[in-house]
């Protein structure tokens, strides 16, 4: 069981690695953002699995937080790619 979990951990890490490749080569900015988003999602899994491995509840908050922040980062980055200005001051209309 532990072996299977370890393999899962490795696979998730590999997925991150591949996403990192996409971040590095791009070619477009949204490509990279997609990849970063993917890294975030995989990190969620990674932490979840690791919690099982360590048999601890200590990281359950971390899981949630990773998810939240990956989302926030993605929104921010997408905004930046789209508009440059990610926090607008006034209503558009």
């Amino acid at each position: 069981m532990m072996i299977l979990l370890s393999i899962s951990l490795i696979l998730f890490t590999c997925a991150i690695f591949i996403a990192l490749y996409r971040i590095i080569v791009g070619p477009s900015m949204p490509d990279r953002v997609v990849a970063l988003d993917m890294i975030g999602v995989n990190l969620v899994s990674l932490v979840a699995v690791f919690s099982i491995v360590l048999h601890t509840h200590a990281y359950l908050e971390v899981i949630l937080i990773v998810g939240i922040l990956a989302f926030i980062s993605t929104v921010g980055l997408a905004r930046f790619v789209e508009r440059g200005e990610i926090v607008e001051h006034e209503h558009d209309d």
Partner: protein, 145 residues
């Protein structure tokens, strides 16, 4: 074509509620599980950040009419004052105390002065982070004009 953000905005409304709840949970439970004033404050601040990203500064300010600058100052004031308070009862500076109280509804509950201290920290964090983002976006506004 104007950007129609309806999907994002709708989802974020719900998401922010989750984040805010989580932040309060993290703040309160920090004494025994991961969390605490800093983390709670930061998570709460990140909820505001998400709001700013999704909506615009004016809308958010109208929705949450709080002076974040004052909030941060009050936060520091609370943490420093709670640290100073023990001096007046002859204890060393920053002495924290805790006890277990049997409260109705909540049952036996631990109450610690450190919570006040950490509340100050949390307020500071939220106030500062939000204030920074507000300042910058306000600056950009002036710069454009």
């Amino acid at each position: 074509m104007k950007i129609n953000d309806v999907i994002l905005k709708t989802v974020v409304k719900g998401v922010v509620l989750i984040i805010l709840t989580l932040s309060i949970y993290l703040f309160l439970s920090g004494h025994h599980t991961p969390g605490g004033g800093f983390i709670g404050g930061l998570v709460m601040a990140s909820a505001f950040v998400l709001l700013f990203l999704t909506y615009d500064v004016e809308t958010v300010s109208e929705g949450i009419p709080i002076s974040f600058k004052k909030m941060s100052a009050v936060g520091v004031l609370i943490s420093v004052s709670s640290a100073t308070f023990p001096i007046f009862i002859g204890q060393p500076f920053l002495s924290q105390s805790f006890g277990y109280f049997d409260l109705p509804i909540f049952g036996v509950t631990e109450l610690a002065t450190v919570t006040i201290f950490e509340a100050g920290i949390a307020l500071t964090v939220v106030g500062v982070v939000v204030n920074i983002i507000l300042s910058i976006s306000e600056g950009s506004n002036k710069w454009k004009a």
